[in-house]
Amino acid sequence: MRFWSWMRSWSRAILRRSLLESEMDAELHFHIEAFTEELVRSGVSRQEAIRRARIEFGGVERVKEECRDNIGISFVVSFLQDLRFALRMLRKSPGFTAVAVLTMALGIGANTAIFTITNGLMLHTLPVRDPGRLVELLHQYPGEPAFNGFSWDAFRTMRDGNHVFSDLIVDSLNVIAVRADKLQPQTVFVGQVGGTFFQALGVRPAAGRLIGPEDVHTGDRSPVAVISWSFWKSRFDLDPGIIGEKIVVGDAPLTIIGVTRRGFYGISEHARQDVWWPISLGPSSGMWYGLLGRLKPGVSMEQARAEMAVLFQTAIDRPDVDPFVRRMKLRIEPAGNGVTTPLSQMLSTPLTVLMATVGLLMLLACANLAGLLLARGASRQHEMAVRACLGAPRARLLRQTLTESLLLSLAGCVVGVFVAYVAAHALIRVFASGRFVMIAPVHFEALTKPDAHVLLFTLAIALFTGLLCGAVPAMSASNTAPASALQQGSRIGESKSRRLFGKGLVASQVALSLVLMSSAALFVEYLSHLRNLNLGFEREHLLLVTLDFAHSGYNAAQFSQLSQELLMRLDAIPGVSSATFSSMSPMEGPGSASFASAEDHPEKQTQVSINSVASDYFETYATPFLAGRDFSARDQAGSPVVIINEAAARDCFGNENPIGRFITLSHVTSTRGENTYEVVGLVRDAKYNDLQQPAPPTIYADLLQQGYTGSEHSQLAIRTRMDPDGVASTVRQTEAAALNTVPIVRIMTMSEQIDSSIVPQRLIAMLSAGFGALGALLAAIGLYGLLAYMVARRTHEIGVRMALGAARTDVMRIVLRGALWMVCAGLAIGAPLAFCGKRLAASLIPDLPVAGSLPILVAAAVIITVSLIAAYLPARRAMRVDPMVALRYE
């Protein structure tokens, strides 16, 4: 009630100011005239009556001012005055304004960009019923990424045995090509869902019906599909006859029975699902069950974790379960903001590191702006003194200076939002080169969408920094004793504390930039270490082509003949030295796993990865043979043979010679049963998944001997004598001519493939290097600003010194020595901080090379160099002071 009457009178006062003023005027004059009339009626002469009425009433203007005060508008009015004045002051010194706004814009922009992505990835709430009580179930081998996909037995045990979930929701997320009559094939996220999925998430249909318990049963599933509203709109143009249409998911022809309500996209905002179909139940379905739970009311996360861990253990602790699987541990995480995806797993560490980095950068930018404002405040002491003498209260002066710093930070905020927009889009391009992301239609707009969270965050840091860097300079500026300031004119000496504070600001900028630069140097060193690791194969001059044989229709004999032909044609291309086929290529990702045992030790099982390769594989990748021979044409009809790497030889045979021995493979991921192979070759270890991990024990099988017909991502590798991109188009044509039913999924160089496996490390190195350079630049600007200001103030003193016989080099030395002192103090403060930062980074990123102190030394050297350059300009100006001019100037 009262609030509304305040708002009413304020809005009237601000928006209809002139009306208010004229009404106030009319009202007061009416009073005076009415009183005059009464006096006249009582017999006073009119002239005398007017005089007496005015005296009785008092000062009209003073009354008006009090009226304005009483409705609170004088605050607004004086704020507008402050704003106008601040704008005028900033316009008067465009150089200062540009530097200050740019500093703020870079700080705020960097923070907003990183926060936008963090927000998009982790803080958006899913548009489903009661998202706060949703959790996801994950399991994890020690030291590997967690994943959400459980066996039928584990699913059934946890579903039937738990008392903590009101629902155990099934949604297995896949990336599958989808096609229809009116639809080009395209890859989308497809959810295979249980019967309670839509009902448990509270999703309603926009058309038709959704998948329910009646569609999900043991054995064959109902051939039905539900599509999302956005898919309906973008692919079918909201065709009302969509219900009953056919759609092919992978190889399965399905009938569309319904469309979900608008805005529903499944359980991850960046991995948006467009098609759902029922999952089939039962032990023989071969399905992996992706699981979400809804906590019962009153059940805590800890209770759920405790109970489910026990259930999971009983489900996997059985002799018929693989020993490898039995080492898995269950994890339960909140899922209200979306489930864990390869993208969120890839980015969570880099975002943490980068959030800390941009936080430091923001502090640095604040210190920088505070330093600039302080120097400016000191040069405006005279003006402040005059205003104080004319009766401005201290609070008013304080408000005036704060208005200026807030204005600067808000202007920086506006520019910063643009910086953030550009930066976030640039970052997305790096994410998109990630290994897991390349094959999936990730919805990147979700990561760059600035929502209310982001805008509030940006505004909050802008206000916070505006106040932070304005407070001390404002206080010191308004604290001037007017008498002394006016008396001494422009030559007033600075107070010792203020001088110290200014130097402290520069030192703290140096310290912060040391932390930024040394961590950047550390991350860059780490990245270059990763890029130069010995991988067991030659990474340069290697072109990789991924082929999709899923719809080729070849049998084993055709595959064998056509692939041989293709390899021969590729070999003939000028610039190509050799070419090969394999089921996977090094650094492509985790391959298919199996268990191997030496023939005479069947009880000792070693986990190995399996790669089916053509002959010339090792020649093409330049992986050296240590013993034995390559596959040959004779093997195709002969007894089964394999080539193994050093790690496999060590694990299966110890120090004995493996050549001529036999290995038994028990295939876990395929159903081929057991097979025994003769070892004919031993090759050097090569890395397949993770640059930081040692190469896995690997068994190479003969592709042609295996009756291989190609998979949806078979790997063709071409070793070139020139830049591999140069032969890409010829390779593309040759492939199309030789295998016309086999599309190329993608072509990339080995270097790109390696880079796609280290996106997090590249991101951290790239951005921290950028932020480190920015930090050094800001510190240099801060130092330059302070020195230039000090030299300008000390012109007189320098003139005196020179008149008394100081040489120009002496003057220069004084300035440079002062600068070096500040820098050294900053380095001394920064070194322990940088050390702490290193420890912190090491706790987030395993095997970071934290032992050496080279990064800190490099950073310190860079900072000293940059500082000397920044100090040289003011020093030169000091040196050129003409004593005559300087002394006469007074």
Binding site: G58, V63, I71
Partner: protein, 113 residues
Amino acid sequence: MDKQLDLLQGTLDMLILKAVSLGPLHGYGILLRIQQISKDRLEIQQGSLYPALYRLEHQGWIASEWGESENKRKAKYYKLTVAGKRRLQAETENWNSMADVIAGILGTKPEEV
């Protein structure tokens, strides 16, 4: 005429609310009414009336509209709002009990302590 009394601090608002509770009045009318009721025993600074009126309107206790005065001139009339009525009642009660207490204290004789 008795000697005029200076207005106690903070009582002007209460008097204005009381004056306009008897019917809509313009600023000068409020002054006249207070003087009339108090039989000219209260001294009110004419200028101080208006800041008080603006404050009361800002708080939402009185509302104003332009009307015509008794001698056909445009004048701003104030009247009590519902919130103002409640406020006046509360202030009156408060004042009465306060006056009782003060009077009680001031009327105390030595033997009563």
